[in-house]
Amino acid sequence: MEKIFRGPWTVPFGECSLRLDPLNLVFLAAIVVLVLSSAIYGTGYLRPYRGKKPLGIHAFFYLVFMAAEKPAVRQAGFIYLIASHCATFFLFLMFFLMAHAAGSMDFDVMARTDFPQAVAALAFLLALAGFGVKAGFLPTHIWLPYAHPAAPAHISALLSGIAIKMGIYGICRVLWIVKTLPGWCGYTLLALGIVSGLMGVLYALGQHELKRLLAYHSIENIGIIAVGLGVGLLGRSHQVPFLAVLGFGGALLHVVNHALFKGLLFLGAGSVIHRTHSGEMDHLGGLAKTMPWTAGFFLAGALSICGLPLFNGFVSEFLIYFGLFTGLRELPPEGVVACSLGILSLALMGALALACFSKVYGIVFLGKPRTDIKTDGTPEGTPFSMLLPMAILAALCLWIGLVPQSVTGLIFGGGTYLAHTDAFAVRLGTVLGPLATVVRMALLFLALILGLVLLRRLFLGTKPLPVRETWSCGFVAVSSRIQYTSASFARMIVELMKNILLFRRRGGQVTGVFPGKAHMKSSVHDASEEMIFRPGLALSNEISKKLGHSRIRYTQLYLMYILLFLVFLLIWKLK
């Protein structure tokens, strides 16, 4: 299905037309759901700010204007602005290149063009660079963990759920336009996805701030999506349409899923911050008792993002895994190696995400409060207008998890569209059948849980059970501060990876027989920021400083430069 609306007016370099095709349908679905929920959420979340702040349209303005008095937020806004501009630079190059080869700026015309191999490869690389910055691939992700936590929660949800997906959409669009990509493109995308996914989740494990952790998790999910797209591309370039549809379809479903559960998680984090005025996990604890609804919805989001059965994350990861395992059989040896690496990294990402979200949920919502959390005393403290969007998103996560058939049409439509193949040529039944069985097993699982709960009720009777303090071998906690913290929970994994994560630890040594107070600070630093961008920035500062010395400060001289350049252009073009 494809609907095109052409405007009756012209714009420079082409005509104005809007189109709805299977690809952008998927993205639009995610946008509509998440924007609506965020808008409802915003009415509750922004109540304290109401009437005070202007609201802009672009994400940059949201970031800067909402809390511009904080230097960190201003910095985040600038970093985002710079990253966007860099991305746009690459995209301009890419579109000019493609337009030059196709002779038109119209996507339809481009899609009908057969690009030469070199142009196709260059366009792919430029798209990766330009849209990769937007999507947050490693190592150009560094703006993301600054920008996303700085915005208000529902805007963070939109930034993570939608804004970075526009990068993915751009890559998908280029994949759709350029049909004849060289074989290595699929491997590149797969490798990029593996690296982004693994590093994203590892960095996330090292974070102690709730929204920053969620932001890093977005990088992981973008990685999973890229793995899916890479599988699809491999299938397309090796003429295995089934594989292509599986990979693209799984990636597209993960786009939708990620929008849903990451939106849900950011909204949940917003509720926590709204209530406690702190996003530092090591200050929180025991919120499941005071905010039962938020805790429940957040759990749904955590189960989804870990890709656990019953929820939507499992369905999309299942499709991508299925594609990778199919690739083991259908691809040549180098493809088999790539697919094996993909499977392993997905498995590792899953296990690490599980560690990460059991940490988040366990530290923030379970146990005892680690500090005196200032709450206003009401039982839930979250307005209904904030709970409702979370409920909607959680319900959708569960819905896709239990009734995946309701979305398979949509996403495989997008998949076949991207794969440039005939939908009927692809044996989709081979994956839809297993998916249906998965769902049946999930329902049986729920029935078993119900049965076991009833059995337990039978054993225990209906009398109230005794409630005591935590036993733990008689080891009585002297203070709730002694509980495991997010830093100590993640320590073993982070220390294993300390060379990659730039794990730093200061203090923590106690001396003497009766040691006094000691402080310990551990942090994880972004390697690509510390090793690539900061030195790069320092270098460019150095260079521009040198240039600055030689600059002569007369306006007339600049005017002369412009005049000379104009003359040069005129001669070059008109000669």
Partner: protein
């Protein structure tokens, strides 16, 4: 209708087998360890008595805990019951098999683990938090090794379903490719020991040692809840044994009774083997466990390389 009835019967049969036989494995292991220690040892039926005792007891809950703490035993047991439908028992194919069921198996295990970790953190005790942290860490490594094995088996059997990977096609593989399967078996055995918290990794008999991983997480569970957890861990052991036995002894004589005997004998032998390992080995230091799991990973990786190299 009769199809549904047949299905229900096979489901119940599988549940009956695993429900009735799995606790005995703990009894066998305890007996082997007692034999090595020169003691008489408890009766083989002792685990059943323990379970019966626990099911008659009430639970005590900490005031810190939430519903998650109560949910985790139920989820664990339900996960094992579902898994027992997807793992073949010797010649008896799994009642539920479909391409990609290995993913459901792995992720259901992860679901149970997720709830166990949350339940441990729910008590607010740093002791149990420690166990939770370790479980999260080691499961990352064992999951990696597990998936590596799945890849190799999938390549060997050209299939995506557990029942086919370790089922009928293995005898052919044993004839031609034995070293690869040897590596897979070795790697899987280490994963088995780690996932079931047996001795070189974790000691199921102590709670107070500093290397504890899984056992410390269930410190605060009591009564029926603890019974559920114990039952679930017995079933988990049985399921891992079943997979390993199906790889090692892929005999299909055609006689149901003989095949069943071979399968159960294999499971019994596995229990004895684990008992021997527990008797002759000390528990590894915590930072060596990581190495053990990495070796399991390297073994599986090696098997994959050899498989790829042959193709």
């Amino acid at each position: 209708m009769s199809l549904l009835f047949n299905k229900a019967v096979t489901f119940l049969l599988h549940w009956l087998v695993i429900g009735a036989l799995s606790p005995a494995l703990f009894g066998v292991i305890a007996r082997v360890k007692a034999f090595f220690a020169g003691k008489k040892g408890p009766s083989l039926l002792q685990p059943y008595f323990d379970l019966a005792k626990l099911f008659r007891k009430k639970c005590v809950y900490s005031s810190t805990t939430t519903w998650i703490f109560r949910a985790s035993p139920v989820v664990s047991l339900a996960v094992m019951l579902i898994l027992s439908l997807m793992v073949p028992f010797g010649r008896f194919r799994a009642p539920v098999q479909f391409p990609g069921d290995i993913l459901l198996v792995a992720y259901l295990l992860a679901l149970g683990r997720f709830f166990m970790i949350l339940a441990a953190l729910d008590t607010g005790s740093s002791f149990e938090g420690m166990g939770a942290s370790r479980e999260a860490f080691f499961s990352c490594l064992s999951e990696l090794a597990l998936f590596m094995n799945f890849i190799t088996l999938s390549l060997l059997s050209e299939s995506l379903s557990l029942s086919r990977m370790i089922g009928a096609d293995i005898p052919m593989s044993w004839k031609g490719l034995d070293p690869v399967l040897l590596l897979v078996v070795g790697s899987f055995f280490i994963v088995l020991l780690a996932e079931n918290c047996r001795i070189p990794v974790d000691d199921p008999d102590t709670h107070l040692e500093l290397t504890m991983i899984h056992e410390v997480m269930i410190l605060d569970h009591s009564g029926v809840d603890l019974g559920y957890l114990l039952y679930a861990s017995a079933m988990k052991l049985f399921l891992f044994f079943a997979i390993l036995v199906s790889i090692i002894i892929p005999v299909r004589t055609g006689h149901p009774a003989v095949d069943t005997g071979i399968f159960l004998g294999g499971v019994l032998a596995m229990a004895v083997l684990v008992g021997i390992v527990e008797s002759i080995m000390a528990r590894l230091r915590l930072n060596r466990v990581r190495l053990l799991l990495l070796i399991a990973f390297a073994l599986a990786f090696f098997s994959l390389i050899v498989t790829l190299w042959r193709n």
